[in-house]
């Protein structure tokens, strides 16, 4: 984990939010736009620290709300509510397994819109809901589940390509070197 990783996650979140507003093909092909922020949050929760998770929740949520008709701040808490517990309990999660990544991505992508809708309804807003919203929810869940392992692979590649790698320690120690030269004694 390093600052580069956090910056990379935030930059991706910025581009993801922008992409969701411009590339509307999923909306017209599948009837719903896929939200990539929950999948990103899963990556951040499993690979960065709680500060990065908080920054992603606040920045990503505000960016998303600024471009949508949501009240500003409505998406911040749902993102954080998903990312925070995973970040705290991540030592118990097999984060390297693609199955775990897909499962967590699906869970986050299902929970974030559900919590957002609850916040909107409790704030007196009237979002566009109906039985077909269930289909949209399924599309968002499936889309998020598919995006999570892709993000893991992408960021692993980026970290490997651009980030500093840990220096592997050699087993050679100069203080244990046996000098056989007579003059050195």
């Amino acid at each position: 984990m390093n600052v580069f990783n956090t910056i990379l996650v935030l930059a991706t979140a910025f581009l993801a939010v922008f992409g969701e507003t411009v590339f509307t093909a999923p909306h017209y092909l599948l009837g719903a736009q896929v939200d990539l922020l929950p999948a990103l949050m899963i990556y951040a929760a499993l690979n960065t620290n709680v500060v990065s998770v908080s920054i992603l929740a606040v920045a990503g949520g505000l960016w998303f709300d600024a471009l949508s008709a949501n009240p500003l701040g409505a998406t911040v808490l749902p993102l954080f509510a998903v990312g925070f517990p995973i970040c705290v309990q991540r030592d118990f999660i097999l984060r390297e397994l693609p199955f775990a990544q897909v499962f967590l991505g699906a869970l986050a992508s299902a929970l974030v819109p559900a919590i957002t809708i609850l916040i909107l309804l409790s704030g007196g807003n009237q979002p566009l809901l109906g039985w077909s919203s269930l289909w949209q929810w399924i599309v968002m869940t499936a889309g998020g589940a598919a995006a999570t392992p892709i993000f893991f692979a992408l960021f692993d590649w980026c970290n490997h390509a651009f980030g500093y790698q840990l220096q592997t320690e050699s087993s050679f120690r100069p203080d244990r070197e046996i000098h056989r030269d007579k003059k050195a004694k």
Partner: protein
């Protein structure tokens, strides 16, 4: 396991969210536009990328094709000029008759062309943003239409961009009149989350004489939308609330899924 840093992060995010959510609407709206303006460079890039294929296509058009297009546009322009002359004459006559019976004079619509720059990323709203703002004279609640008919109204205005609420969003209600002998008036409300071409027309009188294919236009009541803007056509109707009133489904004339250029109407 639960370190002090975690408590601090949890408390900070909750506090920040509650503070933002409890801000007055005017401040929130300005904050939203400020945060949204961070995306302006990307919108510029996206716009340029969209224009590139058009420019490339223009560059490879043959001279003969251009001359043909020019000729057909010239003919269309002449026809439109004749039509405009006719319309102007009808309008003059209409205004004379209106003044004769003491009605308010009708002023012609002023329209401004805008490009749709983005769609709402949330699936539970039906909004879009256009590239005109307060510096272009836009203000809240101005009607927005395409060549096919009404699509919504301006909901919030920034310096260079504005948000429009499309028909079918629960926050966009339009008083609409059915073009039938009884001129039934109802309220155009929310549509379904999936199909954005159908919206509900409710609060029509229980004896409304509705038939499939009848035209629906704005009634002019409500003070936002001028009368007579085409909206769509009746698809079907049914009595609701034990026959208290009639509800109909309206197929919109405008395709909300393919909005690129829209007109903002200054009544």
């Amino acid at each position: 396991m639960f370190k002090r840093k975690n408590y601090f992060a949890l408390g900070s995010v909750v506090l920040v969210t509650l503070a933002i959510l409890s801000l007055p609407p005017r401040v929130t709206s300005r904050l939203k536009l400020a945060v949204g303006s961070l995306f302006l460079p990307l919108f510029g890039l996206a716009n340029t990328a969209q224009q590139l294929p058009v420019t490339a296509a223009d560059a490879i058009l043959s001279r003969r094709e251009l001359i043909q297009q020019n000729e057909s546009l010239r003919r269309e322009n002449q026809q439109l000029k004749f039509l405009q002359m006719q319309t102007s004459a009808t309008m003059r006559e209409n205004n004379q008759l209106r003044s004769a019976i003491g009605w308010q004079k009708q002023t012609p619509w002023k329209l401004k062309l805008a490009n749709v720059v983005l769609r709402d990323p949330a699936n539970w709203w039906r909004t879009a943003q256009i590239d005109l703002g307060s510096r272009d004279g836009l203000r809240e609640n101005l009607p927005v239409l395409t060549n096919d008919g009404l699509i919504g109204r301006v909901s919030s205005v920034g310096l260079t961009r504005s948000q429009i609420i499309l028909i079918g969003d629960p926050n966009c209600r339009v008083s609409a009149r059915v073009e039938n002998p009884t001129h039934d008036i109802g309220v155009l409300g929310a549509g379904g989350p999936l199909d954005d071409s159908l919206v509900g027309l409710s609060y029509l009188s229980s004896g409304a004489n509705l038939k499939s294919g009848q035209l629906v236009v704005t009634s002019g009541e409500g003070g936002i939308f001028p009368a007579g803007i085409p909206i769509g056509q009746i698809v079907d109707a049914q009595q609701v609330e034990f026959g208290l009133y009639t509800e109909a489904r309206v197929k919109l004339n405008a395709n909300l899924g393919a909005l690129e250029e829209v007109w903002v109407l200054f009544p």
